[in-house]
Each structure stands twice: as C-alpha cells, then as structure tokens.
Amino acid sequence: MSRMAPLDLDEIKDPEIHELLAECEEFGVPDALFVRIFARKPDQLKGMLRAMLASHRDGNIDHKLKEIIRIQLARFAEDPYFSALRSKKAIAAGLTEEMIEIGCEDYEDSDLFSEREKVALRYAEQMFLDATKVDKIFYDEMHAHFSDAEIMELGSFIALFHGVHMVMRTLDARPLAAA
C-alpha cells in the first residue's frame, strides 16, 4: 500500500481529471492510483498528466523503444510502481518482456536492437548513471542517428520520467492491478 492513500473517485470533482484518468487507464502508464494520489492538487496534476502522455505516448520516437527506456529508468530509480506498469500501446505493437529485459540489461550485444536504438538506450542510461559521459562526443554520435527534434523529444522524456520515478519511489506504491 502506498504511503499516501489514493482519493476515492467521488472525491475528485474536476471532470477533466476523470477524462485524463480514462486516457491513462486506456494507455496503462500511469494507472489510476497515481492520478488518485496526485489529484489532491488538480491544476498541477492536469498539466503533469498531459505532459507525461504527450512525452511518452505521443511523438516521433518509436513507442516501444520509449517504453523500454521508461522501464530502464524506473529500475534505476528502484521505483516498484513504475517498474511494474506496462504501456498497452507498446504491448499491442509487439513489445515483449524478453525485449524489455534485454533492453534494460544486455542491449549492447543484442541483435534485437539497431545501433540507433542502442544509442538511445545508452543516452538514458548515462544521463543518470554518469551524466559527465553525455558530452559533445556523445551528442555527435547521437546526431548520426537522431535529428535535433528527436534528441529534444528523447531528452525531455528521459528527464521528466526520471523525476517522476524518483518521487514516486518515496511513496512506496504498487500498481493497482497488482495491489
């Protein structure tokens, strides 16, 4: 059980939050628990959920790759809640647990991932393990595979979800489906 209890659904009066909650449930990340905890601050939450959905669900980077990166980051942060969630969009597109495991652990030597995907996985890994390695040489290598817009999309996605995971970890929460 989370250190902070979720609100009951009828305590959430803002209809826009209910609409966003339905979007989240359809997508899978986050689930209703996150929404019901953070609905204590409705205006902040609405902006945050829109940013999370736009950053993760939408955009031009392959969604399966983003979902692997998100899980990789959640594991780095040791956040059990976001580590256990899965994007239904990514699963429907063919993402498997085997791909997630290899993507989080042994992607460098795997044939499952292209060099472009490996650079993206390395980018997320280094950003929060040793950001000094994400230097001009690293960005030059990224530019061989990604446009400026794609690098901004990826970097913002990584930055946002790192922050979300680190805070969520302190709540010691678990997904509703597994609770």
Binding site: R3, Q44, L45, F128, D135, A159, L160, M166, R169
Partner: protein
C-alpha cells in the same frame, strides 16, 4: 529541503521514519504539490546540464553571448551575487 536532498543524493535512506518526519511538517496536499514540482526539476537540470547552454541574459539584464554567459554563470553557480561585475 531535507526531502529534496535525500531524493537527489541518497534515496535509499528515505524510509518510514523519513516519511513520518515529512508528514509532521507538511500536509498530504503539500507533499503532492512538492512532489509534482520535483517531477519537473529532478531530471531536467541534469538533461540541460548535458546540453551546455546558459541563460540568454546577464544578471543585470543585458543580452549576452553564450560564451559570456558561460563565463558569468559558470558550470556550478552557487550565487549570482557579483556575477555581473
């Protein structure tokens, strides 16, 4: 401030005792507000740091080049006092 520092530097030490300490001083609404503020701040500063860009304006309001801004603000600005001098 202790909460922010712990999340950033030693998250393993954030336990039930630390949570109880936080709850003594902040309401659930305030913790949620602080948490969502941190969503945006914990990761973005690291990301921006890798991009090596600096503020467009000096502390006295002048539009400055990135080279001058880097000189003014430095890699780890602890205080802006006297930065424009």
């Amino acid at each position: 401030m202790r909460y922010v520092e712990t999340i950033s530097t030693d998250p393993d030490s954030f336990d039930d005792e630390a949570w109880d300490d936080l709850r003594k001083h902040l309401s659930e609404d305030e913790i949620v507000e602080l948490g969502m503020f941190l969503f945006m701040n914990l990761g973005f500063h690291t990301f921006f740091g890798t991009l090596k860009f600096y503020p467009m304006f000096a502390p006295d309001g002048r539009l400055v080049s990135q080279a001058e801004s880097e000189r003014l603000y430095g890699a780890t600005p602890e205080s802006l006092q006297g930065a424009a001098e």
